[in-house]
Symmetry: D2
Subunit: 278 residues, 4 copies
């Protein structure tokens, strides 16, 4: 009686009208354990992400929907076929790229529509380029091209050669990169070591730190700490923050070796050879 007299009317007056702002509605209320558990975990993940976002104001996690979570589920699943992996990774990358482009500067622009009306909109910054970290980052080039016609794309290869810690670095960048906003492409941010090297190289080339937007699909908190501390003015855009790194410095839960899954190669195949002159 208490319920029908007070709770229900109050619900109808104050809660029901807000239903539309909900991201999800749990049909059978508190008894729907599956949905409640899922949401609890979802909130926890997001809280973890938000903690990190509070610490680093330049870290952006794209707004999660259950569709995006569904794509993550598919590409993280070790049983997913190569073809499906590529399909859903491409789709998710596209959303990350679109979000990243939203951080570029703009100016106001008024246009006349075919009905003769004025529309007050904005004009994009056109001085930009992509830089992919070979191999994994190259998987993100297509989405960038699909959004930005004729965009210049540079490449960086960072490779640890054997045990002596010597680094092989191959790079091929637009000559005028210092004048451009740079979208740095690498799907996984793990320890942050190669990201730091890639970003350092861009800065040595004259790119202002604040002109760099680093795009990835999943990020480990460790990598976020390393990159954001070293370069507090770059922006990181990612689609999920993972729990952490395992003892092999791989992101967990992660999605495995991204490049190998995307290109269909295997982990043990990597090899760098310093060949004698022919």
């Amino acid at each position: 009686m208490m319920y029908s007299k007070f709770v229900k009317p109050a619900f109808d007056d104050f809660i029901l009208p807000t239903k539309k702002y909900a991201d999800i509605i749990i049909p059978r209320g508190g008894d729907n354990h599956v949905a409640v558990d899922l949401i609890v975990q979802h909130i926890r993940t997001k809280l973890g992400q938000h903690d990190l976002c509070k610490i680093y104001p330049n870290l952006y996690v794209i707004q999660s929907t259950f569709q995006i979570r569904g794509m993550h589920t598919l590409i993280r699943d070790s049983q997913t076929t190569k073809h499906d992996f590529v399909f859903y990774a491409d789709r998710l990358i596209r959303l990350v790229v679109e979000h990243g482009l939203g951080h570029l500067p703009f100016t106001e622009k008024q246009v006349i529509t075919p009905t003769g009306s004025v529309y007050t909109g904005v004009d994009f910054c056109k001085r930009l380029c992509g830089v992919s970290v070979i191999r994994s980052g190259e998987s993100m080039e297509n989405a960038l091209r699909a959004c930005c016609k004729g965009i210049k794309i540079g490449k960086i290869l960072i490779h640890r050669e054997g045990d002596n810690g010597q680094q092989l670095i191959y790079e091929k960048l637009p000559t005028d990169i210092a004048d451009r906003h740079v979208l740095l492409l690498d799907p996984i941010l793990g320890t942050g070591n190669s990201a730091v090297q890639a970003i350092s190289l861009l800065i040595r080339k004259g790119v202002p730190e604040s002109n760099i937007i680093f795009l990835n699909l999943i990020s480990a908190p460790q990598g976020v700490h390393v990159v954001c501390k070293a370069f507090p003015r770059i922006k990181i855009v990612t689609s999920e923050i993972d729990i952490g790194l395992n003892e092999d410095f791989r992101v967990v839960p992660g999605m495995g070796e991204f490049g190998d899954r995307y290109f269909g190669t295997d982990d043990d195949e990597q090899q760098v050879v310093l060949a004698p002159p022919q």
Copy 2:
């Protein structure tokens, strides 16, 4: 002194830390009239949208970024070339489709990642199909295919024939459409008349009203009223709510005759002929 003693420290303590939640930061503060004006207009538009969203809980306007506003600026501009119009319309359609897919039902799914960890994610609803309203809606089929491999796509043609008000209706729909969630595709929601006809047809075919998600790029408030009142349980997903309709029942500011701009035909060319048997 007041400023440096009270305002500034308070700002540093309470305002600055929230900087990261801002969608936009105005560099030079209150003197930056261009940015302030732009934001005021942006807020007004969003308020208008929100008023409508408050009335109709099933109306969803995708989260506007300045990149999305930039795409709108390009496709609304009457000076934009056909090639650019198609390019940016395709890009924007893709975002609307992705948002729309986020409203499909899902179930929880746990998967094992290649690192051996558990990832608790979700599984998509697979029982869906697209239905495009000929011609404009057909421009949205590609984005839908690009997101949903092998999705079934039905078509509806609604055409007013001459002045007698008689309607030509051609349709070709999946036979099992009653069991599917339907993404109804039409880039412009103007008066809502053809939308009402298309939705009525779907319902006659047995599709539950709540299984219909109507996707469009821009919507006039009039069309939103007409559709949401007639079908309170369908969802509408759009990227911008426009001001209204002009005396020719065209959306303003709008983007002109979408189909003609997308396919490169002209308005006066439309014609329907009832030919005698050959």
Copy 3:
């Protein structure tokens, strides 16, 4: 001995050097029945095609490779999934479109390459448009767009309404179509009836007969006869000539109802309604 003394040396001198012009080499010679049978059938098909090509000088069958034959095998197979059907149909359509574009007029053009050399090439005709016959022909629009940026695309719907033989015709064509070369899109040429209607409409719109290139994937000889006799100056480009029509006027062996397989609808769903004014 005869063999080693005369046949083999003659073979080495006169036959072996021509090996490279062969489309296919049969490894174990005359005993390789599978390959020989396959080639015999292939030659028979091609001879049948060539007979038709001899009669109609404007009929072009794209050069068959075993890869193209493999795509035909997949899309003709009734067991192929919708997703695979779309994938391989799209791939084959692309080749037909590319071949069709090769029939457009051109002019000589000399350009300077980045090495400072002159390259004598050609300049494409830019005055063209596509016209798709709704629904099947719309499946060919993407390939055309992928080859010709920003190409105008018109549409024609021809629909037999009930038993009284009355035709519904909906059309939406570029206003300046009379000045353009037209690529008419319809994947199946069966009886040729709808092709004749579509072509007649184009000619009524002022398109010169010799400016029309009709693209299809498979053609029945009956349809070729009907179209080529009625319009001796249009060009037909197809990827295979089939055996003929069955008693239901469907192409055999054919690939079934193309539109239904491509869009995932079923044959019995087709319906046209003349609705009363609302």
Copy 4:
């Protein structure tokens, strides 16, 4: 009189019926100097190609159409914008890839079509992979993916480091590459040096020479000689044979530095660094 009595009738009887086999018809006959000149040059180029094809039976030049020549004209022109360069290079690459796939082995396969008829077709070889030579060859990956769903793609980087002639080689190949047919991707075959290194690496990995198909857009005769002599059993598929190399070992007329034009970087930017351990 001689003409009308003998030549014309003979023409009508013997020449006119062959008109349809012509690739091009010269409207005003011998007076049409532009067309005649163009054809003479076209024939000369093709003769040059055929000479090379006679020497090397595994060299295949895709059948030239004036549309293909038009694409070459655009991508060879130093004035072409980056966006157009990418668009037409992609289109041409697609045709080379399709031609290359036509050289894969196949087996006969009979299928039943939806009309209940038997179609005798072929089944593709599925054991294949692509290997791109970084950077230019990576531009060909998309076309390969577009034709072969989920194809594995390996990468090879060969880089001359400074003047000491030492080679940096980075590779990442499918582990089971020895069991696969390999489509080696590199748009320009110039001196043939890097091609020889890439092919040697594949053979060291266990790929049979006859399982390699080397795809490129333009080939210098020197490169063809070097590759075909070293590896007489690999197949080369190209779209045009150019005149030769200039003193800088660049292909002429050529299309400049392919990678720089495709990715928008400049030639002087290339750099390889052997960095000390961090």
